[in-house]
Amino acid sequence: MIKSFRKNIKGIVIEGITLVSALLIIAIVIIMLTVIIIGGKDQLSWEFLTSFPTDGMTKGGIFPAIYGTALLVIIMSIAAVPFGTITAIYLTEYAKENSVIAKTIRFAVRTLAVIPSIIYGLFGLGFFIKFVGAHIDGAFFGGELKWGQPNLLWASLTMSLLTLPVVIVSVEEALKTVPQELRAASLALGATKWQTIRKVVIPGSISGIMTGTILAVSRGAGEVAPILFTGAAYYLATLPGLGDQFMVLGYHIYVLTTQSANVDQTLPIQFGTTCVLLLLTFILNMSAVILRYRIRKKKTN
């Protein structure tokens, strides 16, 4: 029963290969973070976060891009979270599991999730700007160009479509964690279906709904493609409103690295901006994790 030498070597080699590729993952993360943090750490200051770019964007801060990202994320959430939650409630609470309508909705959600983000951008341009916006202008502003052009609102709505499948799927998962027995208990007490959803199902899954929402938001915060055609601006001297174009962190990085007059001079700002964007998504993800943990802990007490 002595193991043959060749077999033994083969086993070691295979284990080695799997280990190396697993370690590579760690290396990639470490290299990426180190490069970004070393490059950007000197740039991060209160001044950098709160001031406008100056000197052809080679100096100054990135405040308008942070501001634009925040607004984008907020408006996007206001649109996507209620819409997605209501859809998820329909799918888990009302639709019959294998009905044609439920299957069709699920297929549509999966399809939305795999559409490349640039196509969302094109759709936003065609639908929100050229169709909805242009018609608003035609109907209310005598054809004057107001809403028929890229702006914060259309970009946010486009982004909300992109994050919609994430919201729907995570809320659905959260609703499914509420045991069927609790729904039965509520109904047996003479509660209506809606009372059951509002007072038992949603409170029982609120942590899942919140974490899903935050994860969707953090996905949207980093995306650039959907807002390229629908509202992102190269540079603006003022803070935007709903009907204005706006600066945003992800696009600002692209602008600095490829479109600026002097790419080398903007290098520190590129690193700084990347740091900020990473931090933002990191904080969002962490808060989702913490929230989930805290509510879980509260539940088990």
Partner: protein, 252 residues
Amino acid sequence: MIVDKINTEDMFLYYSSKMALNNISIKIPEKKVTAFIGPSGCGKSTFLRSLNRMNDLIDGVKIEGKVIIDNINIYDKNIDVVTLRKKVGMVFQKSNPFAKSIYENVAYGPKINGIKDKSQLDEIVEMALKNAAIWDEVKDRLGDSALGLSGGQQQRLCIARTLAVNPEIVLMDEPASALDPLSTAKIEELIVQLKENYTIVIVTHNMQQAARISDNTAFFYLGELIEYDRTKKIFTNPDKKQTEDYITGRFG
């Protein structure tokens, strides 16, 4: 005089095309404990759940015949299921308190019925907990989570929650099957007390339990009501051989 609270006539129930209940006709008296016994899959729980239309929640269930409660067929088209379930409460096999406080669990039913007055709610909660024989154990911690109670306490809390809606009939689906002997004894004692004010229908696997607490017993087998009589008669001198075989432990 004994009044029939529930009366089914030629009732059939189908899961998709499979017949699960075959021609059930039974009269269940008011303010008595009626026990349903029989082997697993005999239809006793299915029948219990059709008395407050909980089977409506399952896809593909079809019911024929009549289920008459207080002279009204509850399967009539114009019956409001929500009102029916307030009148016909249910306690489940597995205790299923909400992830809320003890107080909120009991106040849930009254609240959805529109009772908002705090002192009135307090009164209902106290009364229900007393009727479910759990008041003394929880009165000092009404604000604590119901999930912190023991299994037996949770089940009595669920009974209190059902009573708080002030039903006339309480259906119990093997309410003590997951409990230890001591908790089971408490639940049984409680059921006997409850029949003073409520009509109790209980499904049980435990034949001694049926013998101890029920006034009438119905034996179900393969979706049919084989025999229904005074509990004493069923357990000492049943008419049908199948009943005798089951209660003497020869099958099931």
